[in-house]
């Protein structure tokens, strides 16, 4: 058995002392004696998650795919010197500006709209669902869009997604750290909730 996980810091296990051992992806995989492949990174965007799931992961080799979509205002671009570079609202607060940060700051302030973000979220959501359907791989798709999401508050946008997700990792029932990432107990609870969903898919 092999499980694939992707998403942002929630799936990576940010703020945990030992994320590789205590994050929900590891706990869920251990429960089913599955190999855990976790490609999530802190600050990932839905575009980055879709890129990895669609082009880098060979989904057909997995027995379960768990994807967490993140704040729709995030994006990414290719920097010839740095590789895939993440863009989010909080990243540019107080940063020394260069032509790239100036560009993205302007984009987020003057060009980006809630409609664009929600549309990109839906494109990622539908695209990942269709990919898994084509390969007949069970998929659990989750979100972190909840009241505690500062990035969307800063833009004055609706925090909750109009899409139907299997689970909301930003739910206040999961204990969290100062920067709102789930604690060890929160990850245990998420793993337990994901297990119930997984078993309902079998």
């Amino acid at each position: 058995m092999k499980f694939y996980f992707d998403g942002c810091s929630y799936t990576y296990g940010s703020e945990l002392k030992n994320p590789e051992q205590t994050r929900f992806s590891k706990l869920l995989s251990d429960r089913y004696d599955a190999v855990e492949i976790n490609r999530a990174t802190h600050g990932s965007s839905n575009k980055g998650i879709l890129r990895r799931v669609l082009l880098e992961a060979d989904i057909s080799q997995y027995d379960l795919v768990v994807v967490n979509l993140t704040a729709p205002s995030r994006t990414e671009y290719w920097d010839v010197n740095k590789g895939w570079t993440k863009v989010n609202v909080s990243k540019y607060v107080g940063k020394v500006e260069n032509e790239h940060t100036q560009f993205w700051k302007y984009y987020l302030t003057n060009i980006y709209t809630e409609e664009e973000g929600n549309t990109n979220e839906r494109v990622a959501y539908e695209s990942i669902k269709n990919l898994c359907k084509v390969h007949n791989v069970p998929l659990i798709i989750t979100t972190i869009r909840a009241q505690r999401m500062k990035e969307l508050h800063r833009l004055g946008h609706t925090v909750y997604s109009p899409l139907e997700f299997d689970l909301n990792l930003g739910d206040s029932k999961y204990p969290c750290y100062e920067r709102f990432h789930p604690t060890e107990e929160g990850h245990q609870m998420i793993a337990s909730d994901l297990a119930k969903i997984y078993e309902s898919l079998l």
Binding site: L50, R51, L54, L55, Y106, V123, S127, N130
Partner: protein, 187 residues
């Protein structure tokens, strides 16, 4: 039988800046098959728009075949004053000029193009709809299309008669005939 078409000006059937529906390849293709079609393409479209329309505006499961025409990966769309607005390298705009100069890289565009193609293929397959994905771009090593319409600027398909930047009625007929052959092989 009903066919879904999306793409840019070539799918819209532009000739010298104006669409001529009866001579467009979607019309000629469907006339030969004696079937219905929806052509949701628009002049100056982008691959981004094709994907957005497919996933958020139309229900592809209601069609028996889908034909897409991809365009240059540099094109994009964004929401301006509540409307989706197309942007390409030739449109003069200070902000987007900075995007093409400082941010956009070929690898970025090629990656988006691959994401768009995979998304379109998977969406059609997941809905049990055969699809043909074509392009007006030149052939390249990083991606493979079902059919290359050619492009008047750099890689004109020798069999497609052109009139300026777009095919004429005969050119669109050739495209329709080529697509009919590809469709026959899908059956």
């Amino acid at each position: 039988m009903k066919v879904y078409f999306d793409g840019g000006s070539w799918t819209r059937g532009l000739q010298r800046g104006e669409p001529i529906k009866e001579e467009s390849f979607p019309h000629q293709f469907c006339k030969t098959l004696n079937c219905d079609y929806d052509n949701v393409s628009t002049k100056g479209s982008s691959n981004m728009r094709v994907v957005r329309q497919l996933l958020t505006e139309y229900d592809i499961s209601g069609y028996d075949l889908a034909i897409f025409q991809f365009t240059q990966p540099t094109r994009l769309e964004y929401v301006k004053d509540g409307e989706w607005t197309s942007q390409r390298t030739t449109h003069k705009n200070v902000f987007w000029n900075a995007y093409y100069k400082d941010i956009y890289e070929d690898l970025y565009g090629q990656t988006l193009e691959k994401i768009h193609m995979e998304t379109v293929r998977n969406t059609c397959k997941a809905n049990g709809v055969p699809c043909i994905i074509t392009t007006t771009n030149q052939k390249s090593d990083y991606i493979e299309y079902d059919y290359y319409m050619g492009n008047s600027t750099w890689d004109r398909h020798p069999r497609i008669e052109m009139d300026g930047a777009h095919p004429n009625g005969k050119g669109y007929r050739t495209i329709a005939d080529d697509l009919l052959k590809i469709y026959a092989n899908l059956l």
